[in-house]
Amino acid sequence: MSLIPGLGIVGGMAVTLRRFFEPKVTVKYPEDRRDPPHKFRGRLQLLYDEWGTLKCETCFQCAQACPIECIDMGGMDTRGRYHVHWGPPETYGERREESALRRSGRTVPDPAYRPFAAVNLGRVDAILDEFDHDPAHMLGILEAVQAAYGYLPVAALKRISNLTGAWYAMIYGTASYYAHLRFEPPTATEQVAAVNAHRPPEAAYLSALDASLAGGSGGGRSAGTGAPN
């Protein structure tokens, strides 16, 4: 290309020479540290408290905030309820197995539904039709599902998530926030009692207030209005 022979070589050597005197990019790592890129958020890690239990309360707030929906979780929630959810992208082991199954032509089990009691999701679909598949009516949908099944089956929540397009984390957050929605069948009375002990209902507050006004005897106001003993 060049009319003068050797100019390319000179140009190349000029680059080499410039690099030679430029400051080096190698960082002596433990002593010198570079600033991470501004979007770097570090590795996801769950922290433990001093008793060795997970600090994570399974509140799903991180899952809701995650812009690429890569966070998901499962396990016990703060009210002691066993409640598991598999996040699709994270379970690589299951993924590989699944693709192996698919290649061999066998049916692929859906891991999301396996650990839960089989529920007939037809009623969920009917309820969603009634609410126009609109996530804005989520509270009404959840209340209707609970009225239909007696509780909120996880498979139903997944179904709602699939059909309305609302994130599972959002639905779970809504369902776990309101005290009247529950994840267990209503027969589990001891669990309901545990929930009530953890979050005293308003009636309990009222009777405790009366008891406190009447001198903490626990007798309530009717006992207090009588003659002072």
Partner: protein
């Protein structure tokens, strides 16, 4: 069902004007006593800006506890550029010890419906939602009957009173959390999301329900609106001291409880007296004002006026409108712990100062009551309260510190008895668990 307390006949009645009606859902009877006269006047004579100006001149402030001027919200919402606007009437009434909102909705649903209709007309909203507790089945039934009757008579629905303004009003039952009384939380619940407050600004008046300008007013605020439009802003401004108008309170004393309508600025002593005489030989020890997150005031502050500023100045707040009188059988520390524990367990858990800080407050109170306080506990309580207030996201969080903070401020001798002498003057708590053998 709570009953109405007898108030002196000279006291003004605005909210409970029609409360004595035989059938609260009878539209004809209500119209004969002036219902929807305000809406008609607002549409025919005043127009949207005139209505807002009237409300501004009357000095109407939010009855939900915050005391924000209603006209400011309306003006902001009316000026915001948006395809839709909403009016939300907050009738949730979160405080278990106060049924004032529910009482109003049951006994005069038309005043709330009319107030919401005027608000919707003033800001140009085509949807109005009245949020009620699901447990309050009677209020829901009467509200729906009232809305149906008003729609048939042309006060709601398509082309309200020939103004060209459409208005769809609906009742939305919500339940399941104490926090739903907070305005942004209520909006979240109406959107079907988990009930956690939002950072403000933007206020709901700029971006609220479905990101549209939304006026969220307490039902008592809205029920005052028709009266103002009907009788004029000056008549309203003449009622009450420091803050105009009246408010419903629920007085709860050891002798009984009931609801009364009082003018704002009424001295606490007169409100407490409505609850009846205390049992013989008992005297007032503390007055809890403002619901579970209210302040505990000593009897020598009973001359304080019941209005937003005066109560804030002494460390209480209007809140839910509940006034709870504790006589000398109650232990202030025990009472403060109960209130803080309720607030802490009902907290939504969005912000860390609230989720963790309020639990630490409860633990401090537990330690004091169980008789094993740490020497640093009082300093910690002061610092922690200040930190929670400084970093709070919503008012629930800010006010949760009030029972313990006001208890420490006014009842320090009683607290010192617990702390230093391991004894409870009221004999309620047993702070001598450890030193039982040593102390008597």
């Amino acid at each position: 069902m709570v009953e109405l307390l007898a108030t002196p006949p000279a006291w003004p009645t605005i909210l409970l004007e029609r409360a004595g009606a035989k059938d609260p859902t009878d539209l004809d009877a209500a119209v004969r006593t002036g219902a929807f006269e305000g809406l008609r006047r607002s549409i025919r004579d005043l127009g949207p800006t005139g209505t807002i100006a009237t409300i501004a001149a009357s000095g109407l402030r939010g009855r939900g506890g915050g005391g924000y001027p209603a006209a400011e919200k309306w003006r902001t919402a009316a000026q915001a550029e948006a395809p839709r606007r909403y009016v939300v009437a907050n009738g949730y009434g979160a405080d278990p010890a106060a049924a004032t909102d529910r009482y109003l909705l049951e006994h005069d649903p038309f005043s709330v419906v009319e107030g919401a209709a005027i608000a919707a007309f003033a800001i140009g909203a085509s949807d109005a939602i009245i949020a009620v507790r699901t447990e309050a089945t009677e209020s829901i039934r009467r509200l729906e009957a009232a809305i149906g009757a008003a729609e048939e008579a042309g006060f709601l629905g398509f082309d309200v009173l020939g103004s060209g303004h459409d208005l769809v009003m609906s009742v939305r039952p919500v339940q399941g959390a104490y926090m739903l009384g907070e305005e942004t939380v209520l909006l979240k619940a109406l959107e079907g999301k988990r009930g956690q407050p939002e950072q403000r600004p933007p206020y709901p008046a700029e971006r609220g329900l479905y990101d549209m300008p939304t006026v969220v007013n307490n039902v008592q605020t809205l029920a005052s609106v028709p009266w103002i439009v009907r009788n004029g802003a000056d008549a309203f401004a003449a009622i009450g001291a420091r803050t105009n108008g009246t408010i419903l309170v629920q007085v709860r004393t050891p002798a009984g409880d009931g609801i009364a309508e009082v003018a704002l600025g009424t001295p606490l002593r007169e409100i407490v007296a409505l609850g009846g005489k205390l049992p013989k030989g008992r005297s007032i020890k503390a007055v809890l004002i403002g619901g579970p997150s209210g302040g505990l005031l000593p009897p020598d502050l009973l001359d304080t006026g019941y209005d937003f500023e005066s109560l804030r100045a002494v460390g209480a707040h209007v809140g839910s409108g509940s006034v709870v009188v504790a006589d000398d059988r109650a232990c202030v520390v025990d009472l403060a712990r109960l209130l803080t524990r309720f607030c802490a367990s009902e907290a939504c858990g969005k912000t860390i100062p609230c989720r963790i800080g309020t639990r630490r407050l409860v633990e401090i109170a537990d330690r004091v009551i169980d008789g094993r306080p740490r020497p640093t506990d009082m300093t910690l309580l002061t610092d922690l309260s200040a930190d929670i207030v400084a970093s709070a996201l919503c008012d629930h969080e800010r006010l949760t510190t009030l029972p313990l903070a006001s208890g420490m401020r006014y009842f320090r001798p009683e607290l010192d008895d617990h702390l230093l002498r391991s004894s409870c003057p009221a004999g309620v708590c047993h702070p001598i668990a450890v030193a039982a053998g040593a102390a008597s």
